[in-house]
Symmetry: C2
Subunit: 181 residues, 2 copies
């Protein structure tokens, strides 16, 4: 259980947006700390996202080999995407279908985490998807340059533990899904 | 193994900084995709950070209960901090001492991950610290509003698996350290 929201004795004196987009905003706050010191705190406001672990009935996981411009590398990740005003389960269902073409008969949210508490409010939900059916159709965005791969969940967990699955939310999602099998 | 850096066929046509600070920058790029489409991609440039798992000889881990303004909650995290032009091991040694007062006789970097590949280049290194000695002195920043707690590593792994340790890098670090014991 994550504890309740509270202000920790920090007072927000003023807020300005330095950047706004449909993906995230950058907000700059003037803040008075409990010590009485005034500071500037600049943070990312993010709508949150889902990380999907799609498991086949024969013990495989469906993953993506995707090019990430941010880190200038092709990395292995779980299907994932931002919440678009919908529940984590609905977002997981939608993203899985759009990115991989798989429909899931069953989806379960197993845990949620904050991604980068020093600079961002981003939170992600880990959703395990089972009872999969391949529709053979995807609907990707232009930036989603990927191929779909499948591997035994045991092997994916090993790659997550070593850092070879280098995206932290994906690695954590795979390890938690693996622990529950 | 993470693959090598490459451009994926994406061409950066122009770059502008929307925000710069000692913690991170926000960079906005005009990019031509392999499809020929031109897009705007805005990303966080981060210096990287370390997440430290300090383990005592009797099976306990030293953690922090810290207020995070970004998520307006007090959360349990590993000692952590940004790289300040130093190696991950040196940063881990410094952050551990500053935040908790513990000196580590042995530090080992066990894996590294990207934190949020959709919007940021941030990368973190997981460092396990052992042979601990409590100096009784800390040197925290004004925003580091925390208390130090210790709990059995087994219990911390359970809290990480459930999401009760809600910071994803900390949860992943604890699970990997636990798997290695």
């Amino acid at each position: 259980m994550i504890g309740p929201k509270h202000d920790g004795g920090w007072s927000t004196l003023a807020s300005t947006y330095l950047f706004e987009s449909k993906w995230y905003n950058l907000r700059q706050d003037q803040v008075r700390l409990p010590s009485g010191d005034d500071i500037t705190y600049t943070l990312v406001e993010h709508p949150g996202f889902v990380v999907v672990v799609p498991l086949t009935s024969d013990g495989y996981v469906i993953l993506e080999r995707i090019y990430r411009y941010t880190v200038q590398r092709t990395v292995i990740e779980c299907p994932a995407g931002a919440l678009d005003g919908e529940s984590p389960i609905d977002a997981a269902k939608r993203e899985l279908l759009e990115e991989t073409g798989f429909e899931a008969g069953d989806l379960a949210s197993i845990a949620h985490f904050f991604g980068s508490t020093g600079i961002s409010d981003e939170e992600f939900h880990i959703v395990v998807a089972t009872d999969l059916r391949d529709t053979g159709r995807t609907d990707r965005e232009a930036t989603e340059q990927m191929e779909i791969i499948r591997m035994p969940l045991d092997e994916a967990a090993e790659l997550a533990r070593s850092g070879a699955i280098a995206d932290a939310p994906s690695a954590l999602a795979i390890l938690l899904a693996h622990d529950r099998r």
